[in-house]
Symmetry: D2
Subunit: 439 residues, 4 copies
């Protein structure tokens, strides 16, 4: 008898056992293999050199955790059908299959808003690819799609996939902590999974955490918050982000100008620079245009990197400079601000940047004020560590009652982090001294 | 040339390098070797079977972290003399040398309050042993003693030894997390040490944390809180604690009764059962009675365990029962209470316990109400995760200002945990159903 | 529905899930709880301070690996009954329940040879305790006993318990590597388990390793060899061993002399000093004398340690000196020898030791030559890294053939380590310079 | 005072401290930043998904180990100048700066042999880039270059950089084990470094291993052997290698054919397809042509991946098929052979492959026999685990003598692995059943 699993080595979870049949077939599709070329942490590797891990490992990892939690729940008496198990595993595997180059970094640029004004979100792409694979596999992904959409008759499956304590988050926190070397981001994944159980019946059944898992869950929320500020929203990551998006926007602006460097843009990337698709194309992911999917599935990190290597020889000094900065890691500086800067302040900074661009020979006087937009970015980073009001985490107390986490906790720590934190910041070249510029 | 260090294997920090000379000589004293027989986590091993690590490893570990942080501080320009370095290492090594059997468990029992009414604290014993070793080494521990006492002219050395973020805490959090397998207790020790620096000059110089270390410090406080509730104050640890202390108290009560089991008490333990020394003997640790030190340095975990093996054959059914329960891990149950129980409630529980003791044949009717004290314990566990008011942690902001941690933090999480948490609980045999007893 | 498992934290394997019912009941017996007081590595903690882990964790760990491998084998089509699974888990849990103080250290001393001349082995004690527990649990351990004895009708279960690649070895290698911090002892336990399968049918069915696991198995053998020479047979461990066994032997020699220190020997230890039981009592472990079992189950590391604390005040200077040396870690020195020393050499060393004892005031001239036996020990350490001839490891090649490991391997490395290595050595006080003594 | 180091997070070694000044400046050069885009394990990530780590981390890691070992050696009395320390760190950092796309995979293809017939080796490129950086930094890399070349007056520095136990190997073994999750590849790096010392004086001074490190060194050699067969020369890695090199060779063959897919080759890659440089250009790395260096420093993994995405739409079915296979991981199968196949056997396989290509529509009859070369590859993998004769590892015995490792070892295990192992194999599409083809 042949083993029923193919084993993948994973330094985070040990061996990952992929069930032969549908799930392994999904791993072997070009759509999923593409994720090997998408860095999980976007530009995080520019600060944490080891964090070059990809969405491929994360997809396998989320599936592995789904296996573990389903085993735990079944062990506590929750009966599941083979279709449900397979559907949940497939959904976990594919939940991020729609990510583009550098994951979140270019999400809002690659596919701009259409006439409707609604933004694109990678989940719509994941959903559209899932629909395509469902057609390819003769409808085998029906349950997976319903679990993904949250329409499946037993909603707790969706909760395991997409909630404040889902297999996605538990895998990425553990994995990103591992690869960055940020030890304090470690989450007690195994403990949390072991203390999950299904509470209630029928459509009201939901996943709750047994009381003894409460501290581990609190810790996971606090670790996630730490990972956001220490890693995902690290100052230098924000700066790199700005440089990459600046280059992308500049390339789009200059598209069609006949610049040979732009013409050497990787063909897979070209339609996205040109803005060939809009978010409106994904309003109905089940029926997204085939051409959009084809193009997207051709695209990965390498197209951006290969193109920027061309662009650094661009006739346009701004595009050349931004591309060189990105490739050689000569990034901007991020300065956090106590409050959002005034319009006057922004204008003063742009003026200063324009002067600096002229002095550096990166722009002529006529265009400098306009080009300055690429060199001074004012943004705000924001993180919700926990939301109490919606989709909250529930604790099953020893007396059988169920309470929302912040109520069950013995301190205000959960409450304290339930307030979103917003930090305004400005990004600009290090050589440009913004502190001396009056608003 | 002979290497200047002796290496000790340590799975937590890798190799620990003990400098030859004074520090290695201290490791080799019987006083320090005794720590090999004192479990670091007291009774924690009854819940976390692997947590049998000892104060010996912790002493070495605290010294190793002291080495690391002194290197970091010197690398940032803080000049130190050889005597200061050696003194700080010696003080870190010896800071817990005065712990008795099972560390904190019996601290208040072994050496009762004297006429003054002041309680004994293990730090007084550490200090007394340090003084004895200082005499033995011809005064070589003078700086170590001043650092220990907080009287050394550069107070930041004391801060590294005894504060809310000292080498003691950083080692025990990391170590206890490692041995218990409670992954979420992991603390970013290396990051915290690397972001420490000395700020200010002369006697005002103190250790601060650079801003980039702020999240790691917050995480350490939150992990410590988690370790308290999940490990140190675990329900079953509290229950085991009650059983052990009950046996000790009962043995003291019955001391001199002629019970052969009691006469077989380990000779090292006997004077402490007899109450030969009181806390008043340590009012001046430099001059604590030699007999008290001699006796204490003979005592370790093995005396308790060996004695309880005798006591379980005691003529006294209570002592026999408590000893058996401890050795075979047939422990009491801990129930947390919403509020501290009323006097009436306590009396009702004691009445119920008395009836149960009679029914079980553990007491006769005459003594049962009195013996019930050993079977129903009402206590409260308490944890201060952080104190803002005194000895607070300071953050060096990027603009050069120094702010207290809870002020520097971007959320109320630090504030939230700065309120001490107190949880009343009652401990009693599992067979005794306290919930049905009206108060 | 209540979960079917009780979880134990284990930093080595993560959570260990103990099935409720028979297996959990076995964990809760005093016989198994006693293992919490038996150090797994004997005196290894005197070299590797962190290696204070116990037979309790090892028993749980071996059971956990047995669970894993049974799952793997079932997943590859080997059908098992509930009784077989439970029996195999129970046998793995209890396989070392018969270990005495400091595991192997005193094995040959505690229970001397009887009239038959056959030596005692801890496995006979494990077997006797298993029989006792079987009676206690009404015959529920029948299959476990047969698996333990190797008489069960499907012999591969015994192979998983006791062979050159069994769950015992895999757990202790992984665990001892973890606790000593000897990273290079790490074994790919998970990989080896995942590549095991049952080959053949009926009574010929045996466990083999699939070809892809071959390197991991070779590595395990080589790691085991490294652990023997680097840890188990470390020079200082051999020296500590000699000191402890010397103290035990001396105490036995002086037993009945009226020495108050000896009279204060821990009562649990006394019958073993007195030689109350012999190996012949365990010729038929099923029917070992109840008194022997009762006495043995009272005994653990603490009795030795507590007794030696008394003995160091003995009237006998040799017993006092050996005990002090052990407790304060003032151990002998081990010197490896190119060949086994001649009788003349040994005599010359003993003469030198006798002179030294007199000079040190540890013996008078009359007894010195006789006492010298405790101060000069000539022994040989021996390790078989792998045996090709008996109970060999088999590899299932990709073409379906089965070959013995050393044949399947592509180099002579396995062959090379299949020759037992024997290293003669002499142990003596550091102050006694043996090198200058002519033979 | 500003800290003297910039810290980099590294999950393998913890924090890596890069000294400010020359070494940090080298890290910041485009030449070194390029290594962020070169996978350390070449195509290993196609078998071990997590093994996407890069030469950038490895360069930092080798430098970090060099720091550690220099500290150890200085601690044992070996005096070094500041220039020597800086030179050794710089040389360790840059030792692999000349690696091309996917590290070793394309080494022999990118830069073909010139008229002289000598092959290219990446070390020549590292050396040429080092010379370029030396010019850029005004001669600051003189000592580094001599250490690299082995001409420095104290040869032991070269030994730390390039020998059978150098910082390069110790870092890559530890790192590759970490990222692949192959736990049994773990090497006791810290132990080995701590037992190194300089033995002898003047130009005869060399690095030896103290006797107590002997087992750790043996283990490192055995782990390296395991990593070769289990990871570096894994069957599927060999197959992927063949597919990638086939695509490269085919592209070179078809270069200039006007195929639009080929014309879309990444411009950085184009000159290497065209064979613009030969190994002869690097006979004198100090004076390698600037154009060759410029071109090489533009090249990384992304160019190959981006180009293959184009090539899979090639007019040439062979190039298109090989490119698709690589990107979608539809790889060939590797079959190890007992002996090197005969010429007749090879011909028979090529005939079979030709038939299969025609049947699949990948070639027409006229070209099929020629195209078959891309589908049937006969090779041999070879690994020298240890060489006793040249550049051997020396052990400093406790008696002060120095012996070569295989002599010092107590078994034949080192000898056994000192014989190179050669394994012939054939690589071909899975659909092509070679076993049925008679030779």
């Amino acid at each position: 008898m042949t083993p029923r699993f193919k084993l993948f080595n994973d330094p985070v979870h040990g061996f990952v056992s992929v069930p032969k049949g549908l799930v392994l077939s999904l791993v072997e599709t070009p759509e999923f293999q593409r994720l090997r070329r998408i860095r999980q942490l976007g530009l995080g590797f520019l600060v944490f050199p080891s964090a070059v891990h990809t969405r491929f490992e994360h997809g396998l990892g989320a599936m592995a955790l789904m296996q573990d939690v389903l085993n735990t729940l079944q062990g506590k008496g929750t009966v599941m059908t083979t279709d449900e198990v397979e559907g949940a595993l497939a959904a976990a595997l594919l939940h991020d299959v729609g990510h583009g180059p550098f994951s979140h970094t270019l999400e809002s640029n690659l596919i701009p808003r259409g006439a409707s004004g609604r933004p694109f979100h990678h989940e719509a792409m994941s959903r559209a690819i899932l629909a395509r694979l469902d057609r390819l596999f003769g409808g085998a992904l029906g349950v997976a799609a319903e679990i993904f959409d949250g329409t499946y008759v037993r909603p707790f499956f969706h909760g395991l996939l997409a909630s404040q304590l889902d297999m996605d988050r538990l895998d990425y926190l553990r994995r990103d902590s591992f690869y960055t070397g940020v030890a304090e981001g470690v989450v007690g994944v195994e403990r949390i999974l072991k203390t999950m159980r299904v509470h209630g019946t029928g459509p009201n059944a939901r996943v709750v955490i047994e009381a003894k898992g409460g501290y581990a869950v609190e810790n996971a929320l606090l670790s996630r918050r730490l990972m956001y500020w220490q890693v995902y929203l690290h100052k230098t990551v924000l700066a790199a982000d700005r440089v990459l998006r600046g280059a992308f926007e500049r390339a789009r602006e200059r598209w069609g100008s006949g610049d040979p460097a732009l013409e050497a843009t990787a063909p897979s990337l070209a339609p996205f620079i040109a803005g060939a698709f809009t978010a409106d194309d994904f309003d109905d992911p089940e029926n997204a245009p085939g051409a959009a999917l084809d193009a997207f599935c051709e695209l990965d990190d390498t197209d951006l990197l290969a193109s920027m290597k061309r662009w650094r020889q661009s006739e346009d000094p701004v595009l050349a400079d931004l591309s060189r900065r990105f490739l050689d890691r000569d990034l901007f500086r991020t300065t956090f601000l106590p409050t959002s800067p005034s319009e006057d302040q922004r204008e003063a900074w742009l003026d200063a940047a324009a002067d600096w661009l002229v002095a550096e020979g990166l722009a002529d006087r006529a265009s400098a004020r306009d080009d300055a937009r690429y060199y001074v970015g004012v943004h705000a980073s924001r993180h919700d560590a926990y939301r109490t009001e919606r989709d909250s985490i529930c604790i099953l107390e020893r007396d059988g009652t169920v309470r929302e986490l912040s109520v069950a906790s013995d301190t205000g720590a959960v409450d304290a982090i339930a307030t979103p934190v917003v930090k305004p910041y400005v990004v600009a070249p290090k050589a440009l001294d913004l502190r001396s510029v009056l608003g």
